[in-house]
Amino acid sequence: MPELPDLNPVVHEKLRLALLSLLAGVEEAEFTWLRARTGATDGNLGAHLAKLERAGYVAVKEKFVQRKPQTLYRLTEAGRGALTEYVQALKQLLGAAIDT
């Protein structure tokens, strides 16, 4: 029987998974847009984004638009790769669950 894959714990957490998936669909997104889409609180969202940034899965850019600060998040190549691997692992696990 083939060995089942491990799920990446950084990606597996529900809010982080949602954030990575959201960012996979856009070029870059602002903090407030991510907050509105996920319904997370500022603190919770900030903590999870920081964890994704530390893992190298998202890149952060600060800029000022009309004198107002904007924090933009972008999925990195490593982040895209991690999400792809996670989906493949998930499908493999589901396939194994159906077979048993």
Binding site: L7, S21, G25, L94
Partner: protein, 205 residues
């Protein structure tokens, strides 16, 4: 962790990924107002350019098109920057905006050049505007798989062909009708659709 993850949980996570990907890719920009704004701008330019000389206030009818189009462009940029500030950029969105901007630039360069060289007449002017709008609406409609916008492209293409024939009065009538259908009606319809968009999904961490 693996022991804790049930089939139900794994399926829920796959569903979450799918819904969030779709949410990110969903066109959240609102552009219905631009159709309405440019429809009104075209009407103002036509009225000013055609009947302006009879009005004491708008006596310089030769300025009708440059002034109206420039004012509409500046308004579009100002409102677009304000509205789009908080929206994330998508590749599709950037492609569509680029298409419309480049179509606009082509017209802004071509028409003054043709006018200065004396090679522009009413019929070729309408045929070219309608042709460019047909391309922009057609490409947007095909990318977004939106039949209503593609129908607008068909109206513009018909207008473009019709502009090559008939009298000046017929030309004005068909141009005004095309603007009404593809800019005013389509703009209002798009704005109604945009206002009915469902609210964002919520993820409980």
């Amino acid at each position: 962790m693996q022991e804790e993850t049930s089939t139900k949980d794994l399926t829920a996570r796959l569903a979450l990924i799918e819904s969030m990907l779709a949410e990110g890719r969903r066109q959240s920009e609102s552009w219905g107002w631009t159709f309405l704004l440019w429809g009104v701008a075209l009407y103002v330019a036509i009225v000013w350019g055609t009947w302006g000389q009879k009005l004491s206030v708008w006596g310089r009818s030769d300025l009708a098109w440059p002034v109206t189009m420039l004012a509409a462009s500046l308004l579009t940029i100002a409102i677009g920057l304000k509205k789009g500030r908080r929206q994330p950029g998508t590749t599709v969105g950037r492609a569509l905006v680029s298409l419309w901007i480049c179509g606009g630039i082509s017209m802004f360069l071509l028409f003054p050049a043709l006018s200065i060289s004396g090679r522009l007449d009413q019929h070729s002017f309408v045929a070219m505007i309608a042709g460019v709008l047909g391309i922009a609406n057609g490409v947007s409609g095909m990318i977004l798989r939106w039949k209503m916008q593609f129908a607008c492209a068909v109206v513009w293409w018909v207008t473009s062909i019709a502009a090559c024939f008939g009298s000046d009065a017929q030309l004005t009538a068909i141009f005004l009708a095309a603007i009404f259908i593809c800019q005013i009606v389509f703009g209002v319809y798009t704005m109604i659709l945009e206002s009915r968009r469902r609210p964002a999904g919520v993820v409980h961490a």
